[in-house]
């Protein structure tokens, strides 16, 4: 064996290695830097691990609940009970149909409670707390609606003229998201709830408001998605052919009340993973910069150790130890917090938005791999790569602190500006790696902050847009054409739902097709005479689908599966939903409804229509409700995004800008020797960083806007409406102000650090 090889250094003498004594001292020496790295890792790992654990737990509970509670495969409704014969024919297709009638009752202030009778065969109830009603004047409320309205078990709630006692809180598998209508842009936990009463109590409700709703359940449970869709289409056709006047037909897949949670989680989990990968990418650069800075600081030590006979491997092992230990400890601490503290916070987010069955926190192998194993692996790889390449130069060059490659070329000439400005430029060039990493870190933090803050003004703006573009104060949807005795300011219209393919999301979306009077006083600027048989798209629909004027767009009747090709001849400023407008006679003819058909009235003053003819009445209050709900849902995310962004700003600013001071500490000391005052040194060294930080913050803004725009394409895929990207100017100012404030907090520590650098440092530095 080669006598110069000393394998025991690797195999058994780690603990005796005198270099290990330096680890504690290095930790103390750079305590701030390592604390900031650890803090950022711990918070990120805690957030991601906690989120993934909860999301996985919720998904498991949700999927189990769907099976055990036998959630429907679809539903249909009619204004009148469906005949036994039609149902029998439908069931011959290979499915079971269950009555699932309900009434919508007005409760509390402006809220609607959808009341079902006991469920025995389909969409079974899960009792979260308390018990199901056992006798008259008792009701079990869906948990989320009760919580958001401050209702407790034992409280009374007035339904119609009857006071009913709340016996328990429940969750219903067909209302995991509380959508009152499937076309609603957002679920509604304030103003819409679901409840169950005994069969006797249900029978006592007036038939006027009764909705004849049916749930269907496929006999074969192993159908593919396509087979399920085909069977549903066949069911719809069969019902129509057998004289059923469908008012609603919706598969579970398209029913937002059932599918929205899954879709939301489906995008939440990749989103949080992308968040983590970005942070990890930024941290990888931070690790590389830190290790480079350590090598520069330690050049003389490294040179001496190499010259003394230490191998490159031993030095790599030494310098990699502390970062890996810190990552490992941060991973452990992050996971501990992720499994203990974070689940309650994330459960709050899910259970505060959705009506879900109870979940359990369980060990999540994927989260562990992602949040603990991966960061350690990245840390090891980056450090190995950086150390291996930097330690390849000769010991002599380390001793001479000659770590840079010589090019022999002259330095880049700087413009003829003041000395101070050129000095700062040199500092910026010297630390370009740190500043570039900081730029991307701030870009990410600014994006998170903007994402968190822009929702409220965007929703408010959307509500204002809806108000501004509202066609009329009231819209009445009728069960059948009813002529009014007192017509007031009313105007008839035909409303029919069609579906069109939304390419980005890869699914059909429902569009309200309005047939409007040729000389409508509610629609200004629609020139039906010149439309050449085409249609007008609402602005939102055009933007969402990307349809352009002149394009022919396909639509499908969700009930009869008839296909229609409609040419877009223009857009109309209407923000309340995804809509198509055409002349009403043409729509009636297109759908074979008869020339004089109509099923709705526009009115500003309000109309007195008998409830038995009324399918829905929409007024400005509904708008307020939707706005409140959206603001509440997105509003709770804002503090989390803000805290995360500020943390990223501060941690990265601290780690990366401190490196600028550390690597120039001896020069700063010399500046003091030459007669520079603290203020002047700050002007040279700290102001270079200040200028870079402020410039970076401003430069990130257009990129943040582009990022938000792209992200909202994904966000908007989930909701059945369209929000214009609206970011008011003050938000940009807030982003810059938040970044600058974070920097000034960090800069305060840097100023103290610069002031503390003593002239003796220069005198001790004798190479």
């Amino acid at each position: 064996m080669n006598p110069w090889c000393q394998p025991e250094i690797w195999s058994g003498s780690y603990m005796r290695n005198p270099l290990n004594k330096r680890l504690n001292r290095e930790l103390k020496h750079n305590f701030g830097r390592y604390t900031a790295i650890a803090l950022m890792l711990i918070v990120t790992i805690a957030l991601v691990s906690g989120f993934l654990v909860v999301a996985d737990g919720v998904r498991t509970a949700f999927e189990d609940n769907r099976t055990s509670c036998k959630v429907e495969d679809g539903l249909f409704s009619s204004y009148y009970p469906v005949s036994e014969a039609a149902l029998e024919k439908a069931e011959r297709l290979g499915l079971s149909v269950y009555e699932n009638y309900y009434i919508d009752a007005d409760v509390l202030k402006n809220a609607t409670l959808r009341i079902y009778k006991e469920r025995e065969n389909i969409n079974l109830v899960t009792v979260m707390e308390g018990r199901l009603p056992a006798e008259g004047k008792e009701v079990a409320l869906e948990r989320l609606f009760a919580e958001t309205n401050g209702l407790e078990i034992g409280d009374d709630i007035s339904i119609g003229n009857t006071k009913m006692k709340i016996t328990g809180f429940i969750s219903l598998p067909d209302y995991s998201s509380l959508f009152k209508k499937n076309t609603d842009i957002m679920m509604d936990t304030f103003y819409f709830g679901v409840a169950v009463v005994t069969n006797e109590t249900f029978a006592s409700f007036s038939e006027n408001g009764l909705i004849y709703n049916y749930s269907y359940y496929f006999d074969k449970r192993d159908l593919s998605d396509k087979e399920k869709r085909d069977l549903s289409e066949e069911l719809s056709k069969t019902l129509v052919l057998n004289g059923v006047q469908l008012t609603n037909f919706c598969t579970a897949e398209k029913n937002q009340s059932i599918s929205f949670v899954e879709e939301d989680m489906g995008s939440d989990i990749p989103m949080i993973k992308v968040f983590f990968y970005i942070i990890l990418g930024i941290m990888a650069f931070v690790f590389a910069i830190v290790i480079n800075s350590t090598i520069e600081e330690e050049a003389a030590v490294i040179g001496t150790l190499l010259a003394s006979g230490y191998t490159k491997g031993e030095l790599i092992f030494h310098y990699i130890s502390l970062p890996v230990w810190i990552t490992f400890i941060s991973g452990a601490a992050g996971n501990l917090i992720g499994y203990t503290v974070m689940p309650d916070i994330f459960k709050g987010l899910y259970y505060g938005s959705y009506s879900l069955p109870p979940m359990k926190v369980a060990f999540n192998a994927e989260a562990f791999l992602l949040t603990t194993v991966l960061p350690i692996a990245v840390m090891v790889v980056i450090n190995l790569f950086a150390l291996n390449s930097r330690l390849s130069i000769s010991p002599l060059r380390f001793l001479r602190r000659d770590l840079k490659k010589h090019s022999g070329k002259r330095a880049g000439r700087l413009p003829d500006i003041s000395f101070i400005s050129r000095f700062r430029l040199r500092i910026i060039f010297q630390n370009k790696g740190s500043y570039i990493t900081l730029f991307f870190g701030m870009l990410f933090a600014s994006f998170i902050l903007m994402f968190g803050l822009c929702m409220t003004p965007m929703i408010t703006h959307y509500m204002d847009e809806i108000k501004a573009s509202a066609v009329s104060e009231n819209q009445y949807i009728l069960k059948l054409p009813v002529e009014l005795e007192n017509k007031e300011d009313s105007e008839k219209f035909t409303l029919y739902p069609l579906e069109t393919y939304y390419r980005l999301a890869g699914k059909d979306i429902e569009v309200s097709v309005y047939g409007i009077s040729e000389n409508s006083s509610y629609f200004k600027g629609l020139d039906f005479a010149a439309d050449e048989g085409g249609v007008y798209f609402s602005d939102g629909l055009a933007k969402k689908t990307g349809a352009e004027i002149g394009e022919v767009v396909s639509f499908t009747d969700p009930y009869s599966q008839e296909k229609y090709e409609l040419k877009v001849v223009g857009t109309y400023d209407y923000a309340a939903g995804l809509a198509v407008f055409m002349e009403n006679t043409r729509l009636n003819n297109l759908l074979d409804l008869g020339n004089d058909y109509f099923n709705g009235y526009f009115s500003n003053k309000g109309l007195n229509i008998d409830e038995k003819y009324l399918a829905a009445a929409i007024n400005s209050k509904d708008l307020v409700k939707a706005g409140d709900q959206m603001l509440s849902s997105f509003g709770q995310m804002a503090p989390i995004f803000t805290i995360a962004a500020i943390l990223i700003y501060m941690a990265l600013m601290y780690i990366l800008t401190k490196i600028v001071i550390d690597r120039n500490a001896v020069n700063i000391s010399f500046m003091k020797v030459f007669g520079y005052e603290d203020k002047e040194i700050r002007k040279l060294y700290l102001n270079a960083t200040t200028i870079t930080v402020i410039a970076s913050l401003i430069l990130t803004l257009p990129l943040v806007y582009a990022g938000i725009k792209e992200s909202f394409v994904i966000v908007l895929m989930k909701i059945s409406g369209y929000l214009d990207i609206y970011i008011p100017l003050y938000l940009y100012l807030i982003i810059v102000a938040a970044g600058i404030l974070s920097y000034f907090v960090i800069n305060f520590f840097h100023i103290r650090r610069v002031n503390k650098i003593e002239m003796s440092l220069a005198l001790k530095d004798k190479e």
């Binding site: 330095a411 000095f423 520079y676 220069a762 004798k766």
Partner: protein
């Protein structure tokens, strides 16, 4: 006298480990004189230089420069003193590595109200061809020339040189000493050189030999030798 030192004492450490590094030094140096401080390591010569430079605190005694005592100056006043009166030249040049030759000299030009014309100075230093290079692209002698340029550009009253030739070869050392001599003659700058090199004493007007914190020998050089004729 331009520079007067009276009973100067300096201590390091506290309690039992307190060491007296300078044990009551008194001397004076006239305007435009070159003074060489000789002595073995630990004799206190660098400490004395740093105290004249306002970098080390005066524990006892007085240093008076151009009639102004340094002992009670505040941090800011000491900065002003270094800025207006002093130029430093170190053994290892200590140039700012990410600044070019010209920019390194500008570091001190910025501090002066009446700096020397920088381009002329760079030409005098023989660095005109190298003015846009970074320090790591220069030889040791060129780096030391640059460091001297940086110290001189302020046109200081006193140039403090701590082993200015310690890291240079014989030929380059002589070139640097010639440059220092030229500066002394051209600008009438008072120059204090700390060195181990005994031969340098021959170009100095005044020589002080320190030993164990005290002046062991102090004399005026009657037979000056020009820097170019020095040999060792």
């Amino acid at each position: 006298m331009y520079l007067e030192i009276r009973n100067l004492k300096k201590y390091y450490g506290e309690g039992e480990s307190r060491t007296e590094v300078l044990k009551g030094i008194s001397c004076s140096i006239g305007k435009g004189q070159i003074c060489v401080l000789l002595g073995p390591s630990g004799s206190g010569k660098s400490t004395l230089l740093n105290m004249i430079g306002g970098i080390e605190k005066i524990d006892e005694g007085e240093i008076i420069v151009d009639g102004k005592p340094l002992a009670n100056l505040e941090k800011r006043e000491l900065s002003r003193y270094r800025r207006n009166e002093l130029g430093f030249v170190f053994q290892f040049y200590n140039l700012v590595p990410n600044l070019t030759v010209k920019e390194n000299i500008e570091v001190c030009e910025y501090l002066s109200k009446s700096p020397l014309p920088i381009d002329e100075l760079i030409k005098t230093l023989g660095l005109w061809e190298h003015k846009d290079k970074f320090p790591n692209q220069l030889s040791g002698g060129q780096q030391q020339r640059c460091a001297i340029g940086r110290a001189l550009v302020k046109n200081p009253g006193i140039l403090l040189c701590d082993e200015p030739t310690g890291a240079l070869d014989y030929k380059t050392s002589k070139e640097i000493l010639e440059l220092i001599e030229t500066v002394n003659k051209k600008f009438n700058t008072t120059i204090i050189i700390v060195t181990h090199n005994d031969a340098i004493k021959n170009m100095a007007h005044k020589v002080m030999k320190l030993h164990d914190g005290m002046i062991k020998k102090e004399y005026i050089n009657e037979s000056l030798v020009s820097a170019g004729d020095l040999e060792w």
